[in-house]
């Protein structure tokens, strides 16, 4: 890893081929992930990674600016792969370093700061790559070994949450909501997340999710419905009792779930052998044999009609506890 990083100038900075640069960064990202995975690192590696981060941050910022001014230019689309690799590098590095800030060269006059800013900027100028990175992040963070990482670094779910609130791209919003819902399914992460959330923000988010579930297209409903449950639970914890509004919200939520269950029932195409007929035949055979061992009991009702001719043992007739 150190050898690889030491060749950063040759392979990355001096190289003009975006594909090579992207592949190089992807290799480093694999190493960074492994380091998070094994919870091992060396100060020297962290220092080199941090130094490269500064440069990458500045370069990424330049890409973002170019994208903003040349939104429909074909030239920028060729760098999409490189942009994705650079953004992913910064995100992974943030998690690895456990720090919140990356500063850029002062001469640029702009700062791309924390994880939140990286994701927000990416979401505004390159939503497709933002969704791809969120998906990869979600897949990585849902691994059980990363649970401790998220628990210790609460800015990860908070950044994704703020992205889901502030981004103007609907695809990014849906993806961020899905990833956040997956992260919040862990108890400790959920507790830490909601502990830091103020009541007003939670209430507004819940209302927004409710609107999305009721009026949004199916893809957006799917991402919002999972989060809505967590926020509904949080509302109830804050209130400590069931009031009219919560009851109404809960009833609406259950109704939405029911509709989704009914409408989303996929039809798998696989054959099932109908075992029921076989089971019933077996029961009939056994009952026929058992009947021979009992004697018939005829009973009258008060109107004198025969109402039951059933095979029950006489001992059961009197001693059955009802």
């Amino acid at each position: 890893m150190e050898d690889l990083l030491e060749r950063f100038d040759d392979i990355f900075r001096k190289n003009t081929c975006p594909l090579t640069k992207a592949t190089y960064l992807d290799l480093i990202n694999l190493f960074q992930k492994a380091m998070i995975f094994q919870s091992t690192s060396s100060p020297k590696l962290i220092e080199i990674l941090d130094k490269n981060t500064r440069q990458l941050t500045a370069e990424l910022h330049t890409h973002f600016e170019t994208l903003r001014y040349n939104k429909h230019s074909r030239v920028t689309s060729a760098l999409a792969l490189l942009r994705k690799s650079m953004s992913y590098y910064l995100v992974i590095n943030f998690i690895l370093a456990g720090t919140a800030h990356f500063t850029v060269d002062e001469a640029s006059g702009n700062k791309i700061g924390s994880l939140q800013n990286i994701l927000y900027e990416l979401g505004e100028v390159d939503p497709d790559n933002c969704c791809a990175i969120l998906d990869e992040l979600g897949e990585m963070l849902n691994h059980s070994r990363f649970e401790a990482v998220i628990t210790l670094n609460s800015e990860i779910p908070v950044s994704i949450y703020r992205l889901s609130l502030n981004t103007s791209d609907l695809g990014v919003r849906s993806t961020a909501q899905s990833v956040l819902a997956s992260l919040l399914s862990e108890d400790e992460v959920r507790c830490a997340f909601f502990a830091g959330l103020d009541g007003n923000s939670a209430g507004q988010t819940f209302d927004s999710l409710k609107t999305q579930c009721l009026y949004g297209p199916p893809s957006r409903v799917e991402s919002a419905i999972r989060l809505q449950g967590f926020f509904l639970d949080h509302q109830l914890r804050l209130l400590q009792f069931w009031n009219q509004k919560i009851l109404h919200d809960q009833a609406q939520y259950v109704r939405t779930l029911q509709k989704l269950l009914y409408e989303s029932n996929v039809l798998p195409f696989h054959s099932k052998r109908n075992l029921r007929a076989d089971c019933y035949l077996l029961v009939i055979f056994n009952k026929a044999r058992c009947r021979a061992l009992h004697f018939w009991v005829a009973l009258y009702l008060d109107n004198g009609e025969w109402i039951c001719r059933s095979a029950i043992p006489i001992t059961q007739f009197w001693s059955s506890s009802l």
Binding site: Q258, L261, I284, L301, C308, S310, F317, S320
Partner: protein, 263 residues
């Protein structure tokens, strides 16, 4: 929650019913997930991570028993149980269509070239009838809406009469009119419905028909069935009648014992 002495808000009942529906989902992974949720619902505060979950079939049965135990006074549970026994969704009125029309639709043969696959291949209508009839027998009398009881009574009584009449006219056999899955399930629905009515009649006057009337009709149906209606229907009718008579005899025995003790 589990001993009934702690008050559990009824909004959680609707969640419980949703979990039950998910336990019958067509996808086995979803059913496995729902089984884990059902364990949490049933165990409540006693739940600990790592607790073993029941298989989905057992989990659904236990969840239904749990709901019946914890919410016996809930008319929402009674309504939900009735819908599931009748095989209706939330938007369909259970007794809107007459039994005659329901039977006609069930008996109608599908002559289309390509059979349309059912939306859910997992759910077993007969099993649902058994589970939810038990729930309906567990609800308290105050949970039973009067309208529901009246409509249900009419539907069941019409059902017994029409099935008996059909049995007299049509010949049954291995591929007879009762072998069709929809017809068989409908018949089971009527028979278990009669059992529920007998149970309700013992506890409430909301069922307008006398228990003896129900028993008489069942007897007629069973006698007609001797000429060849589905053996399982007849077995079930005989079991319902036997149990009903035993209940009556137990009451008589109780009264006799009271009189004897007093003297």
């Amino acid at each position: 929650m589990e001993n009934g002495s702690v008050v559990v808000p009824s909004p959680l009942l609707s969640f419980g019913l949703v979990v039950y529906d998910i336990l019958n989902d067509d996808d086995d992974e979803i059913r496995e997930l729902a089984a884990r949720i059902a364990t949490r619902v049933i165990m409540g505060k006693r739940y600990r991570r790592g607790m073993r979950d029941a298989i989905p079939l057992l989990a659904s049965q236990r969840l239904a028993e749990y709901l019946a135990r914890v919410y016996p006074d809930s008319s929402e549970l009674c309504d939900g149980a009735m819908r599931r026994l009748m095989g209706c969704d939330e938007e369909t009125a259970p007794f809107k269509i007459s039994f005659q029309e329901t039977l006609a639709r069930a008996q109608k043969e599908d002559t289309t070239l390509f059979v349309q696959e059912k939306q859910n291949l997992f759910i077993d209508g007969a099993r649902e009838i058994v589970i939810w009839s038990r729930v309906l027998k567990s609800v308290s009398s105050k949970a039973i809406p009067r309208n529901l009881a009246q409509n249900f009574t009419k539907w069941v009584m019409d059902g017994i009469s029409l099935l008996a009449a059909t049995g007299k006219v049509e010949i049954d056999g291995p591929l007879g009119w009762t072998s069709k899955a929809e017809v068989f399930t409908l018949g089971m629905r009527v028979i278990y419905g009669a059992e529920v009515l007998l149970n309700w009649r013992m506890r409430s006057k909301k069922v307008s028909v006398r228990g003896s009337e129900i028993r008489r009709k069942l007897r007629d149906f069973a006698d007609t069935g001797r000429s060849g209606i589905h053996e399982l229907w007849i077995d079930r009718v005989e079991a319902v009648l036997a149990y009903s008579v035993l209940v009556r005899l137990a009451l008589v025995k109780e009264k006799i014992e009271m009189v004897v003790n007093e003297s």
